[in-house]
Amino acid sequence: MSLLDVQNLSVTLHTPHGDLPAVADVSLSVGAEETLGIVGESGSGKTMLARSIMGLLPRARASASGSVKLKGVEMVGARASDLRRLWATEVAMIFQDPMTALNPVMRVGRQIDETLRVRLGLSRSAARARAIELLEMVGIPSPEKRYAAYPGQLSGGMRQRVVIAMALAASPSLILADEPTTGLDVTIQAQILNLLDELQARLHTSMILITHDLGVVATRTSHLAVMYAGRIVETGTTRDVFARHRMPYTRALLESSPRVSNPAHTRLTAIPGRPPNLLRLGEGCAFAPRCGFASERCHRERPELSVPDESSHAFACFNPLEVGR
């Protein structure tokens, strides 16, 4: 059994303008020590997917159906007290923006302490020692001094390291990293991602890496899921998705990333049109209006995710691209 098993998860947000299908019929699984990358444009449902995996949906404004099983425990519809038992020790989250993920009026060391004391029941001094150890582990120089610093006294990269240390505090089996580098300078991004990589290998955790940057997931994930309009439109091993993608959206996404190997002044290909309004999704494939390969059928009928091949590669398209183009 895999560590995380998501089956037919759908999330509907109740907005003043109507019900919005933020996540539709998503199934995925993450095995032990695996890294799954989830890529997609803004508004494709990545963050809502992460929040529902954590059980963090606002109850009054969203409803979820389907199943999210973490180590066999159902997260959808679980009570807060049950979720609290899983949080931090089984699943932890790394937030997008280190500027807002730390309490500005609490010393960073204390913020790490909290988890250790509340969840692991460590004493004050043991928690402090462990927190300093964690700060050192995430590559913060002179951790004893930084332990007493307020978030405002640290740079963005440092803060993200603290956020990572917080997430790792109770040695979770699964880390959900929701665009962990979006709020950072490009030069710091690689450092943080490498750090995550190293820590993951060292601590034997699994990770879901959510991003809109294909460059981020290329070398750091074993599997990929491409999301569009709340659905997974292509999934497989990272190698397959990059080299043998069949869904035109995946290709469009790949082509819109700049490449170092391109000659200078190559025009970046942009995907024409705009992401669909999820409140007004038509019958057909959500990508059809922007797709160069769309046939009449694509506008009428929505393609289901194909049956995965032997390397678990699957895609949702009526007019799949030739492999090895």
């Binding site: 963090l56 988890t115 509340v118 969840r119």
Partner: protein, 292 residues
């Protein structure tokens, strides 16, 4: 452990220093000193070498300020300085006491509603807005007119309860701005209980707003006590309060202007200091914009 430690890069070796603490300014401390003096005077009034505030010296009626009577005497020969000091007891007790009640009830409810949202928030907020729709002063006057005999505790209770909806609204709004921040969600998914989140995450972040509103609230209530006294609804004479003193001296204002001037001045300075301190504190603690 050490093989994991990557050397810090240029951008991250910025010297870690405590930012210079911003000065609150000398005027702030003058105000704090003045308020402190007022509070000390109120507490120790009975042991200070002051003349009895109720003693009527018919040999010195409407006396001007002199060494013997620092601020002069009123039309009954009572020492004004002594009455102001003793009067501050009522004003400060009403101001602080009612705000303790107002914040004691309004603040926890506001925080809870903003954090929980949902039905609890809807019910509480609707109820509070219904109360807010009544003019609070009219309600206070009405209750105090019929709830006799008048006593300090009753005045504190009535004003305190009347201030609950206002406190609730301010605290709820302040909490809502904080409650959706990522660090609150982060604390939650790191296993913090609701109580811990309310006390450790939310409370420190709304404290600056709360404290400055508290100070302004005290100032407002001190004024309100003055207004109630003007209507004869504050503590019963001859007990001095700033409001009572101003009210009583109204009739003899033309003969003895000191009489209305000094208690007004005392109240005015007290309020000015409170408002100034509240305002300075608010801008001092305004660290929401974290600088990189």
């Amino acid at each position: 452990m050490s093989e994991m430690t990557r050397p810090a890069t240029e951008t991250e070796t910025t010297e870690f220093t405590t930012p210079p603490s911003r000065s609150l300014g000398w005027l702030f401390w003058v105000c704090v000193g003045w308020l402190g003096l007022n509070v000390l005077g109120a507490i120790f009034a009975s042991v200070l070498p002051l003349p009895d505030p109720l003693y009527q010296n018919y040999m010195a009626i409407n006396a001007s300020p002199s060494l013997h009577h620092l601020l002069g005497t009123d039309d009954l020969g009572r020492d004004i300085f002594s009455r102001i000091v003793f009067g501050s007891r009522v004003s400060i007790a009403v101001g602080v006491g009612s705000m303790i009640i107002g914040f004691g009830i309004g603040a926890p409810l506001g925080m809870l509603a903003a954090y929980r949202r949902g039905r609890l928030d809807a019910i509480l907020t609707t109820a509070m807005y219904v109360f807010l729709a009544f003019p609070a002063i009219v309600a206070v006057i009405a209750v105090l007119s019929f709830w006799t005999p008048r006593a300090l505790a009753k005045i504190i209770l009535v004003i305190g309860l009347a201030s609950v909806p206002l406190v609730y609204r301010v605290i709820r709004t302040a909490t809502m701005a904080v409650a959706t921040k990522d660090y609150v969600v982060a604390a939650k998914v790191q296993g913090a209980t609701d109580r811990r989140i309310l006390v450790r995450e939310l409370l420190p972040n709304i404290a600056p707003v709360g404290i400055s509103f508290l100070l302004v609230g005290i100032a407002t209530v001190v004024t309100l006590e003055g207004a109630l006294a003007f209507l004869g609804l504050s503590v019963n004479p001859p007990t001095p309060s700033w409001g009572n003193m101003i009210n009583e001296s109204r009739t003899v204002m033309s003969q003895n202007p000191w009489l209305v001037l000094f208690p007004s001045l005392a109240m005015c300075l007290f309020l000015l200091c409170l408002n100034f301190i509240g305002d300075r504190l608010r801008s001092h603690f305004d660290v929401t914009e974290v600088k990189l």
